[in-house]
């Protein structure tokens, strides 16, 4: 069954049938060929129960929050403020790209939205100040990927929903790896620009007074992050409720900055509906496939498959990582996650690994998928915002950051505590 499902999955995806539809068709196939029971009767109840979810409504709320913030003009102020604080490092503004991405990641649950926001604000500066476009745009593409790691994260909500893992714990587990990744990006850019100063730009030093005044512009995002994450850990609100708090906060910020009008709200709402429906089709499809796979005896077959392979648990993880890296060249974040979760996560958990740890590992792997060609959405987004030069410049620019991510993967496997320390400590 595993072999047939995998072959069917790849074949149907290659035919460019929408990912969510492919998942349903595979479920129908398992019902027809592998199940002694008529699983199709479960279709209606499953579509209802997987979409009637107070957990998943956090997705449109977080998307809406991001849509409002992106349209509020806050990004320009944040970028300028962070420029005052980090441009003294070798590489100058490149660090502002990474820092702005990190801050937006902390309020946005989406990587592409983060990259798009920062790229729009940063790119004109790069041209004006004469930066080498490769590393500059690579830093935005890579920095943007942090959006799905640093909480809140839409991808972690979907992972938690499909694997029955605690979403607050996943959020807190993503915090340390997310910050470490951001710091490693800064380090990588700093080292490269120390060795080859021509790749960066002018280092700029600002008077202390200006730096302190700039802090005011960072306050809204810091407050919003504290509000969202704080209300979850204070036990005041579930992730869903915290997301609604975030929407309220974002609207307030947009109001204060004068960015609210009917047009802006309509655009934000329409964008939210589009992204939510897109996510829900794959999530509902994955829930149905999950159900048919487990009813069709996946657990039993997986155990047999594993024993047949004779690999140690660690080697199995290495094989899984290799598989994600290869698939990541062609398939994007959320699709990559939902098509693999039903098969891979039961396998990993049966080997005795922590599902929270694996969720974080999977996020780093799909973050990598966002910036590895030929299909890497953040590459397209950043290139789209540049309107000059070639795509291969952006691809070259991301290489150092891909290496940093690869090191992060090794570190997570070697020291699972990087992800697990905080959730355990807070329990």
């Amino acid at each position: 069954m595993i072999a047939s499902v995998t072959a069917g999955l790849l074949g149907l995806l290659c035919l460019s049938i929408p990912v969510g539809i492919v998942l349903f068709i595979l479920g129908f196939g398992i019902d027809a060929f592998f199940s002694p029971f008529p699983l199709i009767r479960g279709l209606g109840p499953l579509v209802w129960s997987s979409s009637n979810s107070a957990t998943l409504i956090a997705i449109p709320f977080f998307v809406l929050l991001g849509e409002i913030l992106v349209r509020s003009g806050l990004a320009t102020r944040t970028y300028a403020a962070l420029d005052r604080w980090v441009s003294w490092l070798p590489g100058g503004l490149i660090h502002a790209n990474i820092a702005t991405s990190t801050m937006f990641s902390a309020t946005s649950g989406s990587s592409v939205a983060t990259a798009a926001t920062v790229a729009t604000v940063a790119m004109p500066q790069a041209e004006k100040l004469g930066y080498d476009p490769k590393l500059f745009s690579g830093a935005i593409a890579a920095g943007g990927t942090l959006g799905i790691m640093i909480p809140p994260s839409i991808n972690l909500i979907v992972y938690g929903f499909l694997t029955q893992t605690s979403i607050p714990q996943l959020f807190v587990a993503g915090l340390v790896p997310g910050i470490l990744l951001a710091l490693s990006f800064v380090l990588v850019a700093g080292v490269i620009c120390s060795i080859w100063p021509e790749l960066g730009g002018e280092r700029r030093f600002f008077p202390f007074g200006q730096m302190m005044r700039a802090l005011g512009d960072l306050l809204p995002i810091v407050l919003l992050f504290t509000l969202i994450i704080g209300s979850i850990y204070k036990g005041w609100a579930t992730p869903t409720e915290a997301a609604s708090v975030g929407v309220g906060g974002a609207l307030l910020i947009a109001l204060l900055f004068g960015g609210v009008n009917a047009r802006m709200i309509t655009d934000a709402l329409i964008g939210t509906v589009k992204i939510t429906a897109m996510i829900m089709l794959v999530v509902i499809g994955a829930s149905f496939l999950n159900f048919t796979l487990s009813a069709g005896g996946l657990g039993h077959e997986l155990r047999g498959f594993l024993e047949g392979l004779g690999l140690s648990p660690l080697m199995t993880i290495v094989v899984i990582i290799a598989m994600y890296i290869v698939l990541g060249f062609f398939i994007e974040t959320l699709s990559l996650m939902v098509v693999t979760i039903p098969i891979v996560v039961p396998l990993v958990v049966s080997l005795g690994f922590d599902p929270i740890w694996f969720g974080i590992l999977m996020i780093v792997l799909v973050e990598m998928a966002l910036i590895t060609p030929p299909v890497g959405l953040n590459l397209y987004v950043v290139q789209g915002a540049r309107r000059s030069g070639t795509m291969s410049e952006v691809m070259l620019g991301t290489i150092p950051f891909v290496i940093a991510m690869a090191l992060m993967i090794v570190a997570l496997v070697a020291f699972p505590e990087i992800a697990l320390y905080l959730p355990h400590a807070l329990q």
Binding site: I21, S51, V63, E241, G248, T272, A277, M280
Partner: protein, 182 residues
């Protein structure tokens, strides 16, 4: 005619998307007020149940809009390698499969609603919501999605048969906008 149909469908679904979006906004506001009330020692009660219903209904009704905006993700490894006619054939095939699958889902969802109607079922919650009240609009959303899919498929087929490949690609191609991915 085909072009006009697609134009009307897009306009119509855009209006639906605004209504669905407002539903989300209203739901967020309700949840927000409930949190504040809870801190003050009171509560509406049942906001998470209502959020669930909103999510089910809103996502069903948003799907047709997402389809017309080409937001449902497709992997275009093969598609990117072939010429325009090849792309149109793949697009039509994908659209046909989508329309068939969504119709199957809509049919598969009917027994859920039928049972709620027949038994006048109520949710097993303090609100005791009559399930038909929320499941009928939910099913209607899936039926709407199926109808939109078939209409779009036929319109695109007509465009292709007329040799207007570019317009067909505009209507049912892949990746109009990259921004739609989280």
């Amino acid at each position: 005619m085909a072009r006009k149909t697609l134009f009307v469908l897009r306009r119509l679904n855009r209006m639906i998307a605004v209504v669905v979006g407002l539903l989300f906004l209203l739901c967020a506001a309700t949840v927000l007020v409930d949190i504040v009330l809870r801190r003050l020692g009171a509560s509406f009660g049942g906001t998470d149940e209502i959020s669930g219903y909103v999510m089910a209904i809103a996502s069903a009704w948003g799907m047709g809009f997402a389809m017309l905006e080409l937001a449902h993700v497709r992997i275009d490894i093969l598609r990117a390698q072939v010429n325009r006619i090849g792309r149109c054939v793949l697009d039509l095939f994908a659209m046909l499969v989508l329309s068939g699958t969504i119709s199957a889902i809509a049919v598969g969802c009917w027994p859920v609603v039928e049972r709620s109607l027949r038994n006048a079922s109520r949710a097993n919650t303090p609100l005791e919501t009559p399930l038909a009240l929320v499941q009928v609009p939910w099913l209607a959303g899936w039926v709407w999605f199926a109808v939109m899919a078939w209409l779009t498929f036929v319109a695109a087929l007509v465009l292709v048969l007329q040799g207007r490949f570019e317009e067909s690609e505009f209507a049912i191609g892949a990746f109009a906008e990259q921004e739609a991915m989280p």
